[in-house]
Structure formats: structure tokens, C-alpha cells
């Protein structure tokens, strides 16, 4: 009996390892991922050439497997569909080919194409499983990020400030319009500066509040600032003797 033909060579004997005991069938079928997988198994086990499958032999083997399996448990419809397909291919191959249909494709071609594609994917799946996987074969660095989760601080630019100020001014809520020019700002700057200097001292000598290195304009502005502070009762000036040193201190509630 010829069971297979590989590259034109007739193979008469079935390899011994083909036989699977029926009681093992259930287990074996469970390991197949479908009819294509089962077919591939049969082809490989039988050493059939996938490009020149003996349809008779393959169909016989396949049918015997699924007949056995059907007696044991319900079989997925795909297996039955494949059985029908195999029988159809086999019968088409038995028909004599009319001369005009020489060009026609081998009836097995589509099945072979599917088997090849499935086999490639099946092997790709095995390869994928062999790839190194995070958490299984290696681990990524996952140190914790420390530091309190402070809220982001808003950004500010000078323009925001000017807009806010202009908004205030245009609301015209101020009883008396304030003149705000470079000079007045400068005086106000010095006022804050003098208060800052006095914060850490009970009092300071008058001259200590002035930096002669900054020019006359700066001296005048500082002096105006001191006068403004005195006028607004934020500081008091005192002298212990006529023409003696003048001292400046932060005003205290009397």
C-alpha cells in the first residue's frame, strides 16, 4: 500500500510512531488548536510533503481521528467542516482533468496555503513565548518618586501685575488718584527698605540709613522715604542733644 509520495518518491510503509492509542485520543485532541493544527500534526508525523499531500492518506487519518473523538465528546464544528473540505478536495483530484482546465489550480492549493500560514504563525507563537518578558525574565527599574506632591506654583509675569493694577485703577474705587511714577515707586521701595533695616534694630543712626555710594539721587530718594515714613507715623526720629546724632526707630504705640 502506498501511503505517501514525497517528491515523487513512493513511501509504502507508515512510520511506527504514527499510532496513537484511542484512550490517549481525548488528551491528544485537546492539545490541538483546531483542524489545521491536527492536519499539520498528521502531515509532520507521517512525513508527508506539505506541498504534495497525499489526500487519500491524509483524509483517512483525519477521519479516523475525528470518528474516534466524536464517540467520546462533542467535537467542534470546525473539525467537521474540515472533514468535508478534505473529502471535497480528494474527490476533485480523482476527477479526470479536462484538457481545457489544465491551467486550473491544484485543488489542494488553498489548503496548502492555509497550512503553511498557520504553521508559520504557530511557530511564531512559540518564538514569542521564548522572548524575554518583563516581570518574568527581567524587571524594569521602578524606584519610587519621593518628595511631597506639592501643587505647582502659578507662573507670573510683570504683565499680569500691570493688568491687575490697571484693572483696579479703571474700577476707580480709589478716593484720591495716586500718582505712580518712577520716582514715587522708588520712594516706596526705599520706605520698605528702611523698615526692613529697622526690623532687627531698636534704633539706627540716621546716617546708617543712607548709602552714599549710590549717588545724590539715591540719597534724596532715601531721605524722602524717611520723611514719608515719619509723616505716616511708621518711624520716629529723635535727637538726644541739639546738633547731636539723629536716631531713627520704628514707632511704638504710646
Amino acid at each position: 500500500m502506498i501511503v505517501a509520495r514525497i517528491h515523487g518518491e513512493l513511501i509504502g510503509d507508515l512510520p511506527r510512531d504514527l499510532y496513537i492509542p484511542p484512550e490517549a485520543l481525548e488528551v491528544v485532541l485537546d492539545t490541538f488548536e483546531g483542524p489545521l493544527d491536527l492536519l499539520l500534526y498528521l502531515i509532520r508525523k507521517h512525513n508527508l510533503d506539505i506541498l504534495d499531500i497525499s489526500m487519500t492518506e491524509l483524509t483517512r487519518q483525519y477521519m479516523s481521528y475525528i470518528e474516534e473523538a466524536r464517540q467520546r465528546h462533542e467535537l467542534a464544528a470546525e473539525y467537521l467542516l474540515m472533514a468535508a473540505l478534505l473529502i471535497e478536495i480528494k474527490s476533485r483530484m480523482l476527477l479526470p482533468k479536462p484538457a481545457a482546465m489544465n491551467e486550473e489550480e491544484d485543488p489542494r492549493a488553498d489548503l496548502v496555503r492555509r497550512l503553511i500560514e498557520y504553521e508559520r504563525m504557530k511557530e511564531a507563537a512559540i518564538e514569542l513565548d521564548l522572548l524575554e518578558l518583563d516581570g518574568r525574565d527581567f524587571h524594569h527599574a521602578r524606584a519610587q518618586q519621593g518628595g511631597a506632591d506639592l501643587p505647582l506654583l502659578p507662573d507670573l509675569d510683570v504683565n499680569d501685575l500691570v493688568q491687575a493694577w490697571l484693572g483696579l485703577v479703571s474700577r476707580a474705587k480709589m478716593a484720591t488718584p495716586h500718582k505712580l511714577g518712577r520716582e514715587e515707586l522708588s520712594v516706596r521701595d526705599h520706605m520698605a527698605g528702611i523698615l526692613r533695616k529697622l526690623r532687627d534694630h531698636a534704633y539706627l543712626e540716621f546716617s546708617e540709613l543712607f548709602d552714599c555710594g549710590k549717588g545724590l539721587a539715591a540719597l534724596i530718594v532715601a531721605f524722602l522715604a524717611l520723611l514719608e515714613l515719619a509723616r505716616e507715623s511708621m518711624v520716629s526720629l529723635f535727637q538726644t542733644e541739639p546738633f547731636g546724632s539723629i536716631y531713627v526707630r520704628v514707632s511704638h504705640e504710646s
Binding site: 517528491h7 488548536e33 483546531g34 483542524p35 489545521l36 493544527d37 510533503d49 506539505i50 506541498l51 467542534a76 470546525e78 474540515m82 492555509r114 503553511i116 500560514e117 498557520y118 504553521e119 508559520r120 504563525m121 504557530k122 511557530e123 511564531a124 507563537a125 512559540i126 518564538e127 514569542l128 513565548d129 521564548l130 522572548l131 524575554e132 518578558l133 518583563d134 516581570g135 518574568r136 525574565d137 527581567f138 524587571h139 524594569h140 527599574a141 521602578r142 524606584a143 519610587q144 518618586q145
Partner: protein, 173 residues
Amino acid sequence: MNPETALIILETALLTSEEPIPLSDLSRLFEEEIESVEELLASLARQWEGKGLELVEVAGGWRFRSRPEMKKHLDRLNAKKPPRYSRATLETLAIIAYRQPVTRGDIEEIRGVSVSSQILKTLEARSWIEIVGHREVPGRPALYATTVQFLNDLDLSSLEQLPQLKEPDSILG
């Protein structure tokens, strides 16, 4: 910024990032312009030579990972490991990875059996596959493709790094 400080900042960011950091993002770490982040990365990789982690480039960018020889020690610590996937799941994943974008119908055609929704859900839950569109045929079936996460988890920098498909040599025979 002196190079040591820059290296410390770079190292800290890479060791604490949950995801690989793209090269373009790394320069954002520094207030000042950094001349060459690539050079810093090379220096950092050298610093870690002989240690248990290595700096690698994957699809999503740069990250630190444990060296293969550390596996046996880390295994002793980690009782629970990612599950091994079933053949059905792996085959489905392989078809999506190599033939993307594919519909569920395409997968079923190749595998010759129906594909359970559970398999696709499992792969989606792992963020390894995602729906990237729909095929414009009746029913508009979803088209699946693999994600950057899939490449990252396998430490691949692109799909081209997937194992080569077996050439059906018998065809040539």
C-alpha cells in the same frame, strides 16, 4: 550644570519612571540646554557596567532593566510571576503581531477555529493589543494591532525586532 549633576538627574529619572522615557523628553529634565543627551546616556550606561541593571533602548525610549544573570535571584523573591499564556492566546498574539492590522475574522481564518472574546480581552487588558480602526466592509469589524507596551514588555525597540518568520523552505524544495 556640571556633568555629574546632569548624570544624577538623568539616572534618577530613568530609575523612577514607570514607562521608558523618549529621548526627546529627556532633555526636558534640565533647566539649561544640554549639549548631548546621547552622550550623557552613554556615560550613564558605562557607570552601570558590572552592576545588576543595564540601560536599554526600547520602543518607548530609554529605561533601566535587570540583567539576565539577576533573574535567578529575583525569581527567589517574586513568588507570583506573569502567567504563561495558552497556545490559543499566543497564536492570536502572533497573528496580530505579524499580520497587523487584522480583524477577528482574519485571525479565525488563519487559525481555522473561532477566537474567543476572552482571548482578545486578555490581550487588551494587558495593553498588548488595541483596536486601531475598522475595516470598511459590512459589519465594520475592528482592526487589531499591537501596542508600544507590547514592544516595551518584550524589550523590543520595533516590530522589526520580532523573531523572523520561518521561511517555508519546503516551498523552495
